[in-house]
Symmetry: C2
Subunit: 85 residues, 2 copies
């Protein structure tokens, strides 16, 4: 995007490096990376037979589930505020 | 968990089947699956050289980013409500 500062940050997930380009702060990108890495490790510990690709897909499913639940709660809160005002 | 109804739902992501066991409704699990599948396809379209494993990790990173941003907005809203009351 013209005029918008782009950062290029290298993070390590599952012993592999990924370069993330975007407008997020470095601390935010590092936190995202650490959380994904941790979740992948947890799923790997519970399912030792799975390969990296399957672990990553299950991590994405798990995180999308958390995202949708959080979004539902957020929307519910907005609705309550609107009803109240 | 004893007494809690567990569902076992099969979803297809990136042409591969995943069985999800949990207490979520079938429609919720299907929505999660569709959203992950769509996000993987989008990332694949933008990065044709990446293999499934890397696409899945980038999908997990992308989704975790959305989750954290949504959580920050949610926490901010809670803070505003608390300050207001």
């Amino acid at each position: 995007m013209p005029g918008k500062r782009q950062t290029k940050i290298s993070i390590e997930i599952n012993k592999r490096k990924y370069t993330i380009v975007g407008d997020e702060s470095e601390s935010h990108v590092r936190l995202v990376g650490e959380m994904v890495d941790k979740k992948m490790e947890e799923i790997h510990q519970k399912n030792r037979h799975l390969d990296t690709s399957n672990i990553a897909v299950l991590t994405a499913i798990n995180t999308m589930n958390d995202y949708l639940k959080m979004k539902e709660e957020y929307d519910e809160l907005i609705k309550l505020i609107e009803e109240d005002s």
